[in-house]
Point group: C2
Chain length 125, copies 2
Amino acid sequence: MVNSDHPQSGSSAPKDHDPTSQHCDAALARAFSFLGKRWNGVILGSLVTGGAGFSELKRRVEGISDSVLSDRLSELQGVGLIIRTVQEGPPVSVSYALSHAGAELIPVMSALGAWASVNFVAHSD
Amino acid sequence: MVNSDHPQSGSSAPKDHDPTSQHCDAALARAFSFLGKRWNGVILGSLVTGGAGFSELKRRVEGISDSVLSDRLSELQGVGLIIRTVQEGPPVSVSYALSHAGAELIPVMSALGAWASVNFVAHSD
DNA sequence: ATATGTTACTAGTAAAAAGATAGTCACTTG
DNA sequence: CAAGTGACTATCTTTTTACTAGTAACATAT
């Protein structure tokens, strides 16, 4: 768990005169509390093309295991980024889709994807 | 090695699907190969306010341990996102700063921070 | 000159997370 | 009825992450 408290907030301005950086840093830390987890980013990215069921998501993410996908899905759902919908009926099916908050992340994801295409060349490690 | 070939880039073969999502997903996966690591995002975010030494970075990130910071720094350096500069002299000091590619990530970080501020306001759960 | 503190790390080890594999349960297809 | 799909859960094993120390060079205090 990352630090949930912020003991250094307040009067510590090392060298910046831009207050935006300050609040951004805190918000960034919050964002990375789940975006910094192994698959969360790609799962969210896979969902921008539309909602999907568990199996399709597994196909979309490609490489993730059942247990991890299940775990990440619960986590993402827990923070309200995705919505789980169960369609009752003869064959019960579950759909995962981006919530409003999750959808707001789409442009950021696109920007990140664009950046990666331009600046991040393939590394072999 | 610089790999600039993008199978999805250019106008080679327009697919029936939305090409933006396609290339974004692949690039996103690449981006999250390091952004999806625990501290990389915040370290990069801490660097946007300017370069810093090891100790100051540790103070900026707040919560990270020496070994992890050292490890992440090496990794980020390895993928060319940050630049390590050693100032020789009586007290040897090392500075870490964003590379060009790393700097290009700043607006994305800002967008992410803005998103987190709006959608991820203090949860009391 | 020795003790203490700072900066910049590296080592060793433990805890946590990720990954693989398999099993369950409902229902569908052959 | 056997096999297969979709949606998970459980149980390991491996990998990653994290924390505590410790090292080395220099600076300051005594």
